[in-house]
């Protein structure tokens, strides 16, 4: 009855495939097409410096999108990443400004992000509300808290030792890129190799079956949101390191970019499906697009048009390479 899946050659082939899935290949093709188009249109687009630039500019979105991917896999969504980042940013910045050492301030900022995520997770997993609407509510709530805390003013004067952490480079690669690369590797390992990763896929893929199998549903979901919140906070650290100021309005519309990156990378908003590699590629696609359009000095209305069309095109290319599921 069953198709033989145990031929020795397929073994190796499958191993490769499972490391880099067909779906991810689709996303990669999308990226290559976009890069190729810009390479033709924009001289210097493929210079090493510009490529590093693209990576650096994608790093913040990639960081958020990784957390978003985990949440999406668990069957949820996190619209509150931007305000979460803003809260962490202004908190960390005020601590830094009053002279708290950078490591402590960073730890507090990340904890703030985790706390925001825990709140979302609690509302979703324990109280049982819909993720979209919970995080729509906290989208306003967290933003309001950040604005009230700062009175709407940016926090300036972030010390240089903190900024140096995020503005340096390691072997010529900008630190944020290295940090997000590490985060991506950890996220990949977590998803592929740990029980938690498996639980995430199970909870998003078939919650009832997961429950019956004894998967700790609530804990898994809460952890996903907490990670998303923490990564939003990490993205905030990178950003305030770069800008030297923490604004309470920072992170506006970040959620849409993060969701777009995850979706372009193959995450299904129905849950149970998503890829770390795909998400990273998705974030780079969006980053490359922004970079290329700026370099081409495309007028603002047409940039907006291109943004929309490229999101659609990326999904179409993906759809065509992969076939209907």
């Amino acid at each position: 009855m069953s198709q033989a899946t145990s031929k020795p050659e397929t073994g190796l082939f499958q191993a490769t495939i499972s490391r880099f899935s067909v779906r991810d290949a689709g996303t990669l093709i999308g990226l290559i097409v976009i890069m190729a188009v810009f390479a033709i249109l924009v001289p210097g687009f493929l210079s090493e410096r510009n490529l590093l630039n693209i990576l650096q500019q994608s790093s913040i979105n990639a960081c958020l999108a990784l957390g978003m991917t985990l949440v999406i896999i668990s069957g949820g969504i996190d619209l509150s990443v931007g305000p979460t980042a803003a809260l962490s940013a202004v908190l960390t910045a005020t601590l830094l400004v009053i002279g708290i050492p950078a490591p402590v301030a960073i730890a507090v900022g990340l904890a703030m992000g985790a706390a925001c995520g825990l709140f979302n997770g609690f509302m979703v997993a324990i109280v049982g509300l819909q993720p979209f609407i919970v995080t729509l509510g906290t989208l306003s709530t967290f933003r309001a808290l950040a604005l009230i805390y700062t009175g709407g003013n940016p926090v300036l004067g972030i010390p240089d030792d903190f900024r140096a952490i995020f503005n340096g480079s390691i072997f010529g690669v900008p630190t944020p890129v290295v940090i997000v690369g590490l985060v991506a590797f950890v996220a990949w390992a977590v998803l592929k190799k740990t029980p938690f990763g498996e639980y995430l896929l199970a909870v998003g893929g078939n919650e009832e079956a997961a429950h019956i199998a004894g998967v700790p549903i609530a804990r898994t979901k809460i952890a996903a949101y907490a990670i998303s919140g923490t990564l939003a906070a990490l993205a905030a650290m990178i950003l305030i390191g770069r800008l030297g100021a923490a604004e309470p309005i920072l992170g506006n519309l970040w959620e849409l970019d993060a969701i777009a990156a995850a979706a372009i990378g193959g995450a299904s908003l129905m849950g149970g499906k998503g890829s770390v590699v795909g998400t990273i590629l998705g974030a780079i696609i969006l980053g490359a697009m922004r970079n290329g359009l700026t370099l081409m000095n495309v007028q603002s209305f047409y940039q907006l048009l291109a943004t929309g069309l490229i999101i659609l095109a990326a999904m179409l290319i993906d759809r065509a390479t992969r076939g209907r599921e």
Partner: protein, 328 residues
Amino acid sequence: QGLAPLNSDTEADRLDWSELDSTLGALPTLPEGLRAGGVSKTLTNEYWRSLGEGYQKFADANGVNLAYQAAQSEGDQLGQLTIAEGMVTQGYNVLLLSPQTDANLQPVLEQAAAAGIPVVNVNDAVIPGAEHYVGNVQRDNGVRVANWFIENYPEGGKVAVIEGQPGVFAAVQRTDGFTATIEASGKFEVVASVPGNWDRQLSYDAATNILNQHPDLIGFYANNDGMALGIVEAVKAANLKDQVAVFGTDGISDAYASIRAGDLTGTVDSFPVLTGEVAMEVALRLVGGQDLPRVVATPQALITADNVDRYSGEGVDVRAVLLEDATK
């Protein structure tokens, strides 16, 4: 009403703020318990908070109650409309409106007219049917920065603009003023004019990209100060601080601090506190039954390291300085 659609930049029926007293005399005596309502775009930008301060200052000085509200975010047009309509319903004696867009508070104008409440349109977006407008010339913001470049770089060079949200009045006017003026000089090239959506991070990224492609760039003009401060960081990160001049718009306190620190080259300050005071004065004069010209122009000035101490700091009376400027 047979009023032609208002263009605040070209309206002939205008008065400079400094001539208010001389033209109209002292503020008329006002009835007790006046309530004024101010509705602005958003409080997430310091500019609008400062404007409110100005309202408050002038209102307090004249025993007027002020309610100052703003939409929850920039672009929340219907929310702002709800707020303004609420004020009409509650019977405020005069309204000071800074609309999100040219059109979104139009119904308030009509409702207020029906209720006999005078309305002053304060700055930024211009309600075409507005009978009274207080504010500066948006286009002039860009023009001033362009003129600075023309004066300081006789050889010309490459410049770039980071714009605000696509389609927003202030962004369009400021960009247009800058670009038209500097291109008319013939020596400058605007190599990029891309949106930063009023967002520091986007502006930082855009500036980085532009600097990468045009390492010989000599200057940026940003449609507001928040974006300009993002650009400053990008310029510093690219180690081009000595070569690239960065200008913002609005004159928020952070911009002043940055100018003092030698980071930001300059900003076009439109003196929101003073603008608020003037607007409130105009509003109260209207309540007091005076006839006013349709547009009352408020000051603006290009602030750079050279003149920053003249406009801010210990013991500086901005009002006096600006009056001095106005009479020059």
